[in-house]
Symmetry: C2
Subunit: 335 residues, 2 copies
Amino acid sequence: MSTIKDVAKRAGVSVATVSRVINGSSRVSPATAKKVRTAVAELNYRPNLLGRNLRKTRSERVLVLIPNIANPFYAEIVKGVEDVASQHGYSIMLCNTDSDPEREKRYVKMLKSRLADGAILMASEMTGEELTELSLEIPIVQCCEYKAGLPITHVSINNEMAAYKAVKHLIGLGHKKIAFIGARNQFLSSLRRKEGYLRALEEAGIDFDPACCAYGDYSYESGFRIMKQLLKLDPRPTAVFCVSDMMAIGAIRSAMEENLLVPEDLAVCGFDNIHFSSMFKPAITTVSQPMYDLGCMAMEALINIIEGKKEGTAEYFLEHELIIRESTVKQDSVC
Amino acid sequence: MSTIKDVAKRAGVSVATVSRVINGSSRVSPATAKKVRTAVAELNYRPNLLGRNLRKTRSERVLVLIPNIANPFYAEIVKGVEDVASQHGYSIMLCNTDSDPEREKRYVKMLKSRLADGAILMASEMTGEELTELSLEIPIVQCCEYKAGLPITHVSINNEMAAYKAVKHLIGLGHKKIAFIGARNQFLSSLRRKEGYLRALEEAGIDFDPACCAYGDYSYESGFRIMKQLLKLDPRPTAVFCVSDMMAIGAIRSAMEENLLVPEDLAVCGFDNIHFSSMFKPAITTVSQPMYDLGCMAMEALINIIEGKKEGTAEYFLEHELIIRESTVKQDSVC
DNA sequence: AATATTTATGTAAACGATTACATAAACCAA
DNA sequence: TTGGTTTATGTAATCGTTTACATAAATATT
């Protein structure tokens, strides 16, 4: 591996000149510039990023912490993040935390150790205190899941309103006994979605039945298992609102096993509009989050903080959309 | 941000001593060690990784280049990679190339610039020559997709045999007209799977019909579109072997639209055994790759190269398994 | 008690870049 | 010709670590 010294020696110039040619940071005579460039080519020289970043105390790199790369929901967000990042000359590196606080801590440690200029956190497991402290040390932005009341910029949707609209849709179809499959975690979105569910029920004058509510972990398996239980209720629910598409799919498979028809015997509504929700049969009615845009926005906000263009913290709420498909309304042939 | 110098000053010792305490690299008297540790705590000091890595010319970090994080197939592999990595004290960073040669080049550049100690490449778009050159500069391992004949370690499965077994299964069910939905790319796996398909046909004395073969890009959409075309053949195929589960699901949706029953009118076999293939209705018959193990193996091989434990290149082929589900054989209730 | 060994710590040179400052050469104006 | 600019390049400090080497103090050995 050749260094800038080797190049300098070969080109017969000083390291400073080589650096100038590489970075175009100041004038160099065309003749020497050419000598340097041939030396660079001959030695196949690449500047060592560690040295450069150390000196510049900037890496033009940001970390993106995702709880679970297997969740297709995050894939689309990451696309948005990446696109904006590369437009601005930043590289992104994904860190899969698996929702494991220990793993997350490892990556946060790297972040604090200046391996990157900042980070986008999705569904962080850190406490509000830890997050605030981190944000004082290094630029961060919360995307999708966030803790409220912290002095940290975040980008998300209006979860309460989204859930309200979804449940209102079910009510509009004539359902009276509507189950709720939520998420058992500390995130605000979980709370807000429950609130939206409750508001829709209340508005329609439907009594809230705690037995109709259960909590999973967004996964197919949890949706399946929970629905199995809910179907044992008497009278059983005729509709269910799930806070993830994966759980909605699990719920549908559960209903199928009981020989129930979806949507005739059980209407199912999901959340996220993952790619798969339109591939499934029946296609899933769901709330579409603008995942790509969420990613873009988060990255833009982060760059603004890193480059000091924006002071203070901001809250961004992007638009969502209810997408009605076969799992709540019988349709002809949809794909 | 405090540095090792600040800590040294505060503790009233030299930077060398601080470094020794932090790394436990040599004996320090308990009294001074304690002074150092309190200073570290008081200043909330974290060693700067750039400085450390620069000095050590080691980062204990590896890059994992994935073509598409939205593809759940890779998620499980990454889990394996991560587990082995963290067992050995390495961190991994995911780089989503989106199968875009330009993006891939950017990450490879970072790799060459010593941002990481090595990399695992899945489905690299680089030429054999570029790959070979890269492997001379820095440790790399190819995982799943690989180019043959290169002096680069790789980990994968026996694709020819896997395809052969899958098609043989279809033949065993009595099918005579079996379509093939492959992948249009330069990867060896695509070629080998086609070869396995051909061998099974030949062995059964079934004539190969080029009209029955078409090529997509592993996606749901391509499977859907291609199957639409194949179903127009007369006589139409009664079975299809797809080289990805996503395409298999697309094919099934296509058949459904034509009011064909799966598996009665069309038997469908996929490849990969992604999580979703068991969630779908009908559940997909597929070839299961040991994704987690592939990831583990790749990471182990990479560490061996990085740490100089193993010389030369190796080829690892892990076991696969044909998983028979509803999309080829009518079953009672399966989940 | 004199010497050899061990232990604890400090000094300073790396690692590979960037960049403020210095300097020499070339050019220009009067 | 002289002094003042401008231009091109080099020297050396710096970023934050680790670590080889040096040295002083403490301990062991005879």
